[in-house]
Symmetry: C3
Subunit: 108 residues, 3 copies
Amino acid sequence: MFDKSHEDIGNAIHQAQIEALGIPADDRFQIFQPHDAGELKFDAGYNGVDRRSLLVIRVTAVHMYPVATKRVFFQAVVDKLAPLGIRAQDVLISLTENGFEDWYAGKI
Amino acid sequence: MFDKSHEDIGNAIHQAQIEALGIPADDRFQIFQPHDAGELKFDAGYNGVDRRSLLVIRVTAVHMYPVATKRVFFQAVVDKLAPLGIRAQDVLISLTENGFEDWYAGKI
Amino acid sequence: MFDKSHEDIGNAIHQAQIEALGIPADDRFQIFQPHDAGELKFDAGYNGVDRRSLLVIRVTAVHMYPVATKRVFFQAVVDKLAPLGIRAQDVLISLTENGFEDWYAGKI
């Protein structure tokens, strides 16, 4: 499933960032990492959900979004992944923050 | 070595998290990433230890553990990896913290 | 290109860390992750640069460097990658910080 919709998954997550976080449409840097069977280990019932698979989304972003905005973003991600056949229950998102001064994107 | 004890390494680290950090037993999300020769570059003597190999453990956790608890956790990890033949000297752990609001685990 | 200069890229980044951040020469832990075509998704024009490829450098370091030092580090990285044929425009650096107490390097 992951291999087939490689491009679609990237587009969905990027679109959620544009709509929910308000980032520029051309601010896109995404790394996809396929995994062999068994490399993703997870509990099928944690947090009271029925988990069958796992798509891990790790986001590094500048510290500036309120908690409410983060929730809107998470919801937007799973809403846009749903049409691809990816269940909300199978998504894990982890956000890590840094500062504006912690990025170099092609020039100082 | 890494391939053989894939599952065992995951169990050891998870058990250390349960015992030292007090996380729920079903709060388990682990990503394993095998590497080809040369992809892990490290100094064999840094920090005054005799390093022969390298197992990198990167943990992302909510910011809430005191320094002393982190040390207990690190010690628990290497104690539980030792029976698998993994030397404490060959372990590198890096902890990065975020907030409760930075996680989505299957539902809002 | 990435495969050929695997070792050179690592040396260049490490040397930049020594010179710009002042880290000890033996404090070296680097993970290289090759990617198949399409796994790195990026916008070719973001930030007003002409991007043709992408080398993503993710650094986790203890929180202690002033903003000016970070800029010097970024510049040092691209300056040392240039002789390898890696264009500054094609480099993305993302720095994430933690504390001294968040590292285990072979011993407590």
